[in-house]
């Protein structure tokens, strides 16, 4: 086989990987590739070359450069919402807060006033300065549901399954199925492995570095190895039978993304690195619809103020760099939801920290919001108002997530996304716009 033959075979394998990925993605939501190609007047393709063209056409048809993207950032370990978004007047419950967690309530000098008595921890002021005035920064406090326990692992799994302890797929996976066809880069999980929210039948890519997203080897060896590996996994059942073709299908696009990456320096460690990769993927306009990032280190049972200061500084630095890097136009198409598994106990423990609680705070940043603000139901915090010592789940996280995927991604009916639950508009909402 000549080098040219090999290159053609490699291209064909990658094309077949894409077709396979699309079949996987479309089949279950009533689409088939055959139907789609028929719709484009492209039935009966036989030759390799023609297949290449039709796939590219189908592929390009989807990555229009107008996609909207939802980025879900999960703060693992349960971030203390009351320390980030402070109910900072008597009507909201500041007096009670000071009586049970005085050391954890920032003074006015360490706060940025928002609206209606709410104030933002000043460690996040860079986000306020960048996004608040343009209507790109909102918060929803007291988020939970009655089935979210105070176990990290149950709560994370329950939320990521979209409100179920037993569903075999994640809520974002079910959103992708509703969205129909997509590119191989439609769903990206930044990190070493895909989170539960993306588990399921819609293909997604987990990667920790676009820079390293290359098939190993050199020259003909690289090309021939790629072809052989793809063939060895053909027909294999199980996750690897899906992941290997998807990985190979993504190689060309990854090379394009690498070529176009700008050299912006991102602070904030792994968090910054993840956002830098995502900015590169977004700027390459390869049809990214859903992305996830996990950030650990929020389980503050001890010395909370010091622990959170570092975490919040990193988050603020990484996110402001990300939005700057995207630019004011592109970020209108990117909505970021920052969530966590539950909030923490209102009362401080003896270690200068807080134990596991209930209602948490979600942050919303970027495009597609109705405006900056604090949304959702809230009542004055008192001993009697609390749920077993915790902020109650006055607002439902699936209301917020549901509105985002419906309005920003055009997911249509949300039936089945959150099993047994129909999202409604949160108090003070709507939060998101369709435009």
């Amino acid at each position: 086989m000549t080098t040219f033959d090999l290159a053609v075979q490699q291209a064909a394998e990658r094309v077949q990987c894409e077709l396979r990925a699309q079949d996987d993605a479309w089949g279950r939501s009533g689409w088939t590739r055959r139907r789609f190609l028929a719709g484009l007047g492209m039935v009966g393709v036989a030759s390799l070359g023609a297949q290449l063209v039709t796939t590219r056409a189908a592929y390009a048809a989807d990555a229009t450069g107008t996609e909207r993207t939802l980025l879900v950032i999960f703060l693992r370990g349960a971030a203390d919402g009351l320390h980030l978004l402070v109910p900072n007047n008597a009507a909201l419950g500041l007096d009670y807060l000071k009586s049970v967690r005085a050391d954890l309530v920032p003074g006015d000098a360490d706060l940025q006033a928002l609206t209606g008595g709410w104030a933002l921890n000043a460690r996040l002021k860079p986000l306020y300065d960048q996004l608040w005035a343009t209507g790109e920064l909102a918060f929803v406090p007291a988020l939970s549901t009655q089935n979210v326990s105070r176990s990290h692992f149950q709560a994370q799994q329950y939320l990521e399954r979209g409100g179920s302890d037993t569903a075999s797929s994640g809520w974002l996976d079910r959103v992708l199925e509703k969205l129909g066809p997509g590119t191989t880069f439609r769903a990206v999980a930044q990190g070493d492995r895909a989170p539960m929210s993306l588990a399921g039948t819609a293909p997604s890519l987990a990667l920790s570095s676009i820079e390293d997203f290359q098939f190993p080897g050199w020259d003909e060896i690289q090309t021939a190895s790629e072809v052989a590996v793809r063939q060895l996994y053909r027909g294999l059942a199980g996750p690897l039978g899906e992941d290997v073709p998807n990985t190979i299908a993504a190689l060309d696009t990854a090379a394009t993304i690498r070529a176009g990456q700008t050299n912006v320096d991102y602070p904030g460690g792994d968090f910054g690195r993840a956002l830098k990769d995502l900015a590169g993927i977004l700027k390459a306009e390869v049809g990214l619809q859903v992305a996830t990032v996990d950030v650990g280190g929020w389980d503050t049972h001890t010395d909370e103020v010091n622990q959170l200061n570092g975490q919040l500084d990193d988050a603020a630095a990484a996110l402001t760099t990300f939005f700057d890097d995207l630019g004011t136009e592109r970020r209108k198409r990117v909505t970021v939801a920052v969530m966590t598994e539950f909030g923490r106990r209102v009362e401080m423990n003896d270690s200068g920290g807080t134990d596991h609680g209930h209602g948490s705070v979600m942050w919303l940043l970027g495009g597609g919001l109705t405006g900056s603000g604090v949304f959702g139901h809230w009542e004055q915090l008192t001993g009697a108002a609390l749920d077993d010592g915790d902020v109650p789940g006055w607002n439902n996280p699936f209301d917020v997530l549901g509105e985002l995927v419906q309005k920003r991604l055009g997911a249509g009916s949300l039936y089945g996304v959150f099993p047994g639950y129909t999202p409604k508009t949160v108090q003070g909402g709507p939060i998101a716009t369709t435009t």
Partner: protein, 490 residues
């Protein structure tokens, strides 16, 4: 599939259906070595062929009890001189070397662990150490446990990995590393920290079968377990909270602070023997060693072995080996990234030229895959089912390492001779493929899959070795074989 149990592993093999998940095929020797070892080696395969499964198991139990700790491989053990020291002595040593809070002991622990997984003859022991390190996880490379984590590995996990889970649980509940990590060291009668109490119930013992009141009561009963200025365990009755407690079916008057430690031990013993704990441990063992979805028949049988033996760990292993389900499960697990790398080293027979450098190389390689042993950052240990490890990036990373180890990229490891892996002189290109695939994966590949490799070499099967491209393409061929599902599954 019906699970049946037989008096011995040998009987179970005889009665099992000779099956495997395609494209893997029935091969009890490689199966055993991919489950209760970190992958087959030429030596281990030969031993099993000659002596059988029962002799292998007896030898492994002898290793596990004779060489507790690190001593089953003296050269690897010598790479961790700090691992034998107390927390106080580690701190002094670090201070004397100009870095009182250095991570040297944690690095040595990771590197010795990787070295033993890859090279120790005590393989069953290493798989159990790995299992219980995850079950009672205290993340290594975490600043708070810089001088205690290695002692936890030595005095809690390795000391009891082939013994009694009750003893291991009791040891963990008074070990500085666990007490610091889950904040029990900071918990007092006036302000109880619930972190340890919750994970004790949810992760270490009964699972999600507890109430919030159980957490609060357990946390209260365990107050007083703390550390002294030298980072050694101390029960301080002054901070122990008294008062009657009820946790699941356990009650205790807990009326005297000075009896608080014994009251806590009584709770731990109760929990270790609880049927929910038996179920929790048995299910996790079966998921680790059999399949992502083990039958309830198998889980129940393993749980029963645990309870009737008074919470001993080895009887659970024996029960698994006595089941037909185990022997019929070849290919039902996907190797986690670090397992894939270690199995690659073992099956290629990669030797070591420089131990410190080689173990550091393994450290950064597994770290780059998010699977560095002992480093999972949450209390629940690394996930153990294939769906939790799906990653395009890690696939590419792993394939690169296959090429790297087959090709001798790292000076600290000895070069691999592919010629030696054929096990004799191949008659031609096709024969070379047949021999190398069987040697590296323990499966005789289908004609179709061998044809993929023949196409990869771009020459007919009949090509004599003297004219074959294998003179240059032997390393890439070995790498592609290791990239295949035949090696990715275990």
């Amino acid at each position: 599939m019906t699970t049946t149990f037989w008096p011995s592993a040998t009987d179970a093999i005889k009665h099992a259906q000779r099956t495997a998940v395609a494209p893997l095929t029935w091969n009890p020797i490689d199966h055993l070595l991919s489950r209760f070892a970190f992958g087959p080696t030429a030596g281990a395969r030969a031993y099993l062929r000659e002596h059988g499964v029962s002799a292998w198991y007896r030898l492994q139990v002898a290793y596990a009890t004779t060489y507790r700790g690190y001593s089953a491989h003296k050269t690897v053990a010598a790479q961790g001189p700090l691992l034998t020291k107390s927390p106080y002595d580690v701190r002094q040593w670090l201070k004397d070397h100009g870095n009182e809070y250095g991570w040297d002991a944690m690095d040595q622990l990771t590197e010795v662990t990787l070295g033993l997984q890859a090279f120790s003859p005590a393989q069953l022991y290493e798989t159990l150490v790995d299992f219980f390190s995850n079950h009672l996880n205290v993340p290594n490379h975490n600043g708070d446990v810089w001088n205690t984590r290695h002692a936890y590995d030595r005095d809690v996990i390795r000391r009891h990995a082939a013994g009694s889970f009750t003893d291991m649980l009791l040891a963990s509940a008074r070990h500085p590393a666990m007490l610091i990590y889950l904040n029990l060291a900071d918990s007092t009668k006036t302000a109880v920290n619930e972190n340890y109490g919750r994970e004790l119930l949810e992760l270490h013992t009964v699972g999600l079968h507890y109430s919030e009141a159980d957490v609060k009561n357990a946390a209260k009963l365990l107050t007083g377990r703390t550390i002294d200025d030298n980072m050694h365990y101390l029960f301080d009755d002054y901070i122990h909270g008294t008062g009657a407690v009820k946790i699941l079916g356990f009650t205790h008057p807990n009326s005297r602070a000075e009896d608080g430690e014994a009251a806590g031990d009584a709770l731990l013993r109760y929990l270790a023997k609880h049927p929910y704990t038996a179920q929790n441990l048995a299910r996790k063992m079966c998921v680790r060693f059999v399949s992502d979805r083990p039958s309830s028949t198998l889980v129940n049988a393993v749980a029963k072995a645990y309870l009737t033996s008074g919470t001993q760990i080895l009887p659970m292993v024996v029960q698994i080996l006595r089941s037909t389900e185990f022997w019929e499960s070849r290919g039902r697990k996907v190797r986690r990234p670090a397992e894939n790398v270690i199995a690659t080293l073992r099956v290629l027979g990669v030797g070591v030229k420089s131990w410190p450098d080689a173990l550091q190389t393994l450290h950064w390689i597994t770290d780059s895959m998010g699977n560095c042993p002992l480093d999972w950052p949450a209390p629940n240990g690394y996930p153990d089912v294939a769906t939790a490890w799906r990653s395009a990036g890690t696939l590419l990373n792993t394939w690169e390492k296959h090429l790297g180890f087959a090709g001798g990229w790292w000076d600290d490891f000895a070069d691999v001779s592919i010629d030696a892996l054929y096990g004799g002189a191949p008659a031609n290109s096709g024969d070379a493929i047949l021999r190398l695939t069987k040697r590296l994966t323990g499966t005789t590949w289908s004609t179709a899959h061998r044809q993929v490799l023949q196409t990869f070499l771009n020459e007919p099967a009949s090509t004599p070795m003297s004219k074959s491209v294998l003179r240059w393409w032997d390393v890439p061929l070995a790498a592609v074989i290791l990239d295949s599902p035949h090696h990715a599954l275990r």
